[in-house]
């Protein structure tokens, strides 16, 4: 399993994708921007590019020929996805904290980078993972439809959340008004987001293993 992880990190992921979070994260410094996009760039760019790499380099056959179980092949790949997602989120959170200090008086139309918002980002990525990982492992090489559907799912959640936070006064107050300073409440949403993220990713992992067992390395 550890060897597969090394294989993923050294062969599968181009070094550029380890730097990406530091570039996209910097977008948090744009005052009052639509911050969901910062995390969505991972879905828009990193995922399809990474998986195109796996496809063109015949990773499916390469991995299948190694003395490893199919279960471990899936597990290592999901670890790498989660690792990159966490990197994107943590880096964006750091930039977000800087952004809030830079613009303390700003009136936010879209979400303010609070812990509650990051909790929502975890939920968005959870939806992305559940759709992408489970769809991708039907073939383990076709990533187009899985990327499209998972991005659509994540965007729908983001759009719905943004809309609610504008339309609903209580939600507005919680995320952008006086409520945005209530750290305990926000940490609760944050933790809930992490739990949903973990849960959805684990469900995706089990679906992926089940589907990957039937996949043939053509």
């Amino acid at each position: 399993m550890y060897n597969l992880l090394i294989k993923e990190l050294r062969l599968g992921v181009h070094p550029f994708f380890y730097l990406m979070p530091f570039l996209t994260g910097a977008l948090m410094l744009i005052p009052g921007w639509l911050y969901f996009l910062v995390i969505l760039y991972f879905c828009f760019l990193t995922i399809p590019n990474m998986f195109a790499g796996y496809k063109t380099q015949n990773d499916l056959i390469f991995s299948s020929m190694l003395p490893v179980t199919k279960k471990d092949i899936v597990k290592a790949r999901i670890y790498v996805i989660v690792l990159l997602e966490l990197l994107h989120l943590v880096v964006a959170m750091i930039y977000g904290a800087i952004s809030v200090r830079f613009f303390p008086e700003l009136v936010y139309y879209f979400f303010k980078p609070t812990f509650g918002f990051w909790g929502l980002c975890f939920v968005m990525i959870a939806i992305f993972n559940l759709i992408f990982i489970s769809m991708y492992y039907k073939t383990a090489y076709k990533y187009g439809a899985a990327t499209f559907a998972s991005i659509a799912g994540a965007m729908l959640f983001a759009t719905g959340a943004e809309w609610l936070s504008i339309e609903n006064a209580a939600i507005y107050e919680f995320f952008k008004g006086a409520g945005s300073d209530q750290l305990a409440n926000h940490l609760f949403v944050f933790m809930a987001g992490i739990v949903i993220f973990a849960l959805f990713t684990i469900i995706a992992y089990y679906i992926a293993i089940k589907r990957f067992q039937k996949v043939e390395a053509q």
């Binding site: 090394i6 294989k7 050294r10 062969l11 380099q57 299948s64 020929m65 190694l66 390395a217």
Partner: protein, 284 residues
């Protein structure tokens, strides 16, 4: 001891079927797996390696069932696909450093020995290697992890005659000690004439014959006669071709009556392959 034993392997696709594929390879020998393009060579090899799931059948490698001991056996197998390349933009060094972690019996000394022997430069990228060098790199990897069975899909296809000859010499060297066995598929019959001990011939998803090379060839006779003699043997012929000078046909040795005044010679593998596949079109 058998290095490889395949019993009644079946695999059905929408437009193609492997039907009861069975053959055996003795330890320490080279088996050539021949067949036309699309005959089922790669599908059989992929089934052996469990890259495709067989519908039914049993595969034993070095005395162990592949389905039950896949991970353990993959430590003992070295494989290469002539036409599929992996991570071609990576350097040999990078790829080896990743691959060697997976093998418990990896030996750096053996690896370096083969790098030198095959003139492989570690700083080169896979994309910069010629087709022959890529096969040699796969062999170096396989031998460095102590593979006892080499399963190679079309390793000689796309190689120039010199590189092919070199590779076949290497195959023969490898099996000399009796520890390593090689199964390699090809549609180039001269490769087999040079180095194979056993030959398995697959046509349209079915094994036509699997035997020691001499026995395999001896199973058939090539007949050449006048057109008026054709009727005497027509029924027994596997397939035949006629020209204004007469006919040429392939027959099973057991079906041939030497008393007939028809010239019989020992065919080469190419002729066997051509006539056996022609048989199919006769029925169609």
């Amino acid at each position: 001891m058998l290095a490889l034993e395949i019993n009644n392997l079946n695999k059905t696709y929408e437009h193609f079927q492997l039907k009861n594929v069975s053959f055996q390879l003795e330890k320490g020998y080279i088996m050539g797996f021949i067949g036309a393009n699309g005959a089922g060579k790669t599908t059989t090899i992929k089934s052996i390696l469990n890259l495709v799931r067989m519908d039914s059948g049993e595969i034993q490698i070095l005395g162990k069932n592949m389905a039950e001991h896949e991970i353990e056996l993959k430590q003992e197998i070295g494989s290469a696909f002539g036409d599929i390349n992996f991570y071609t933009r990576s350097k040999i060094k990078t790829l080896t450093n990743v691959i060697k972690r997976f093998y418990t019996h990896w030996d750096d000394e053996v690896y370096n020995k083969y790098l030198k022997k095959f003139n492989l430069i570690e700083d080169k990228k896979i994309a910069e290697l010629s087709t022959g060098m890529r096969v040699k790199y796969s062999l170096a990897l396989a031998l460095s992890h102590g593979a006892k069975l080499l399963i190679l899909d079309e390793p000689t296809s796309g190689l120039d005659p010199v590189a092919r000859d070199q590779l076949l010499d290497i195959f023969q060297e490898l099996v000399q000690d009796g520890e390593i066995s090689i199964l390699f598929s090809t549609h180039i019959t001269s490769d087999l004439e040079k180095c194979a001990d056993y030959i398995t011939y697959i046509h349209d998803g079915q094994i036509i014959n699997s035997a020691e090379k001499e026995t395999f060839i001896d199973t058939y006779r090539l007949l050449q006669g006048k057109n008026e003699d054709l009727d005497k043997v027509k029924q027994a012929l596997i397939a035949y071709k006629t020209t204004s000078f007469g006919f040429t046909g392939l027959i099973h040795t057991k079906d041939f009556d030497p008393a007939l005044d028809i010239k019989a010679s020992i065919p080469n593998l190419e002729e066997i392959m051509i006539y056996c596949s022609k048989k199919e079109s006769v029925y169609v």
